[in-house]
């Protein structure tokens, strides 16, 4: 009985991890890009931003 519970638990955890991974990877590939951080109308293009 406990072997079945352990197998089911492992499969559920594995399934959740697999689903979250696949959804995350697909989102990274197909998600809309944020607006470009560089605004060419500003006097200088910044190297980056803090915070």
């Amino acid at each position: 009985m406990s072997a079945i519970v352990a197998t089911v638990t492992t499969t559920v955890v594995g399934g959740v991890v697999a689903a979250v991974t696949v959804v995350g990877l697909v989102n990274a590939n197909t998600g809309t890009q944020g607006p470009s951080p560089a605004n060419v109308n500003q006097p200088v293009v910044e190297y980056g931003t803090n915070g």
Binding site: T11, G14, G24, E46, Y47
Partner: protein, 570 residues
């Protein structure tokens, strides 16, 4: 199975991470500027006027792209810096544990440090990072067998293509390859010095300009990631200063979970890892970890003190980018984590009621190997989930080639790139921020701004010639500006019309012959400029430095040749 599973997994992760960056074209991201044919010029050799920031990396690229096209070379470097490092990381795992090896590969390649350095374009740092696990093994062999492995000089040279990477590599060598034998310490120190000689000597020649603006220390310090404080982020190799390259997953709860899991899995493997490596090597890796984490946290906790040191000690500014030093933490972190994964898997199998069924075994192994990807999936496909736009391959406009030809046809003198600002966000690069690529593309020594602007704060540049050019441009009329620039040895002015402040209405005019007026680039020849050869002493010093560097690189070949000759005589 391990023989092919590790390289295959490493390659899969690398392709998944780089994605569109592997398409035809150049990847231009922040400090990463590759061009079709980089010229081997004074700046690359360390005798230019500016601080030698790209010595020796530019010289190596300039030579190699004579054999391999620049575009292909960049792909190879990016791919190799991930795959070679990943395969090497598997050697940090317990022998015989495939799951441990695969977990080591994942953790080595799929972490905030790799993602953020890719986004910042710090490819020499990534190359040094890729060489690290191999260097750990080679240093061990040198220490224990008393004979320098043939591959070690190549590893050290490849891992020292920039100042910060070279310092990290030297630290690894000095900690792991030395023993209580002054001769061995001297040999190790000599290798470290020779590998770093080009930038070390060039830095000494520029010592007068090597003091950094103290403002840079606060700007480039180890940073918090969302609600995760910098010192905790650093435990999982995160904490880069630039929020443009920070994956969204690192600003939310996933970063806390990821850091917690890293700490747990390292704790789980700690005792087994220490026992397996022994006190000498594990202790050495602990020292490196403390050095990396401690330095990074110092930049976070006391940026003013770091800034004061960088402003007073020539070259000390190299440590102001706190998170970059975290490469030193990776061998311990990944080795202990791989041990932890192996031990956890064994414990689960031991406590399983009866034999573990194959599906459960596969699922458990999969979770232990894949979790770093699960918690940071948004760096996939060219850092798609970073606000800075990630990595994409693009083509240079045709005008860049026209400008290169125009500059080649111009009279003597260096190129001045206008407007005098360091970074660009050209539309043809998708608006992504990149260090102005114009100067490198043109194939001549160039003067450009090295001032950095971060969140509105200006970090002063160090190149005295850029400051002189700014003064020259403040002249009353185009003719006087041109005369002042010619005095500085500027023979060509190239202006980017598309950059902020570079349009015709806002540009500072310089008198001269117009060689090109494309939609984006304008090339003007300045009359009266003369070549400004580097001081003879500089040339001699750099020749000695490069000679030592080449000697180290060719040492294994020379040794192999001697052995071959000796074998023939026998």
């Amino acid at each position: 199975m391990r023989a092919w599973a590790v390289p295959a997994w490493s390659l899969l992760l690398a392709v998944l991470l780089l994605g569109p960056a592997l398409a035809p074209g150049f990847v231009l991201a922040h400090d990463m500027v590759w061009v079709p044919d980089l010229a081997l010029r004074a700046d690359a050799l360390g005798t230019g006027s500016g601080l030698p920031r790209a010595v020796p990396s530019d010289a190596v690229v300039a030579v190699l792209d004579e054999v391999v096209p620049g575009m292909l070379l960049q792909k190879l470097v990016l791919l190799a810096s991930l795959v070679v490092g990943g395969i090497g990381a598997a050697r940090l795992a317990p022998p015989g544990s495939l799951v441990g090896a695969l977990a080591a590969v994942t953790l080595w390649q799929w972490n905030p440090l790799v993602a953020e350095r890719l986004g910042l374009g710090h490819w020499p740092v990534l190359l040094g990072y890729a060489a690290l696990p191999w260097l750990v093994g080679a240093a061990r062999r040198w220490r224990t067998e008393g004979r320098m492995p043939m591959v070690l000089p190549l590893l050290v040279v490849v891992a020292s293509l920039s100042a910060s990477a070279g310092l990290a590599t030297a630290a690894v060598l000095l900690v792991l390859a030395t023993r209580r034998d002054p001769a061995q310490v001297a040999r190790v120190a000599a290798v470290a010095v020779l590998a770093n000689a080009p930038w070390l000597v060039a830095g000494l020649l520029h010592a007068g300009a090597a003091l950094s603006d103290p403002a840079g220390a606060a700007v480039f310090a180890l940073a918090d990631e969302g609600s995760l404080p910098g010192p905790l982020a650093a435990l999982g190799l995160g904490g880069a200063w630039n929020s443009q390259v920070l994956p969204g997953s690192r600003t939310g709860p996933a970063a806390w979970v990821s850091t917690g899991l890293v700490v747990l899995v390292v704790a789980a493997g700690w005792r087994g890892w220490w026992r397996r490596l022994g006190a000498r090597e594990a202790g050495g890796l602990l020292v490196l970890w403390l050095l990396g984490w401690g330095t990074a946290v110092l930049t976070w906790a006391a940026p003013d003190a770091v800034g004061a040191v960088a402003a007073a000690v020539p070259g000390a500014g190299v440590v102001r980018d706190g998170a970059r030093v975290l490469v030193l933490c990776a061998p311990l972190l990944v080795g202990a984590a791989a041990q932890g994964v192996t031990d956890v898997r064994a414990r689960v199998a031991g406590s399983w009621p009866g034999p573990v069924p194959p599906p459960a075994r596969v699922v458990l192994a999969g979770v232990l190997v894949v979790w770093p990807v699960t918690l940071m999936p948004d760096v996939a496909w060219g850092l798609g989930g970073t606000p800075g736009g990630g990595l994409r391959a693009v083509s240079y406009p045709a005008s860049y080639e026209q400008a290169r030809e125009a500059v080649a046809a111009a009279g003597p003198g260096d190129v001045l790139v206008l407007p005098l600002s360091s970074f660009r966000a050209p539309a043809w690069n998708g608006g992504r921020t990149v260090l102005d690529p114009v100067g490198r593309y043109l194939g001549r020594d160039h003067v450009a701004s090295d001032e950095l602007v971060v969140s509105g704060a200006v970090v002063a540049g160090e190149d005295p010639r850029a400051r002189q050019a700014r003064t020259a441009l403040a002249g009353a009329d185009p003719e006087s500006r041109a005369a002042a620039l010619a005095e500085l040895g500027i023979g060509v002015v190239v202006r980017d019309r598309t950059a902020p402040g570079g349009d015709d209405a806002g540009a500072v005019e310089v008198a001269g012959r117009r060689l090109l007026a494309a939609d984006d680039l304008v090339v003007t020849e300045v009359a009266g400029a003369r070549e400004r050869p580097a001081p003879r002493g500089w040339v001699v010093a750099m020749a000695v430095a490069w000679g030592g560097w080449l000697l180290l690189l060719t040492a294994p070949l020379l040794r192999a040749g001697r052995r071959l000759r000796a074998a023939r005589h026998r």
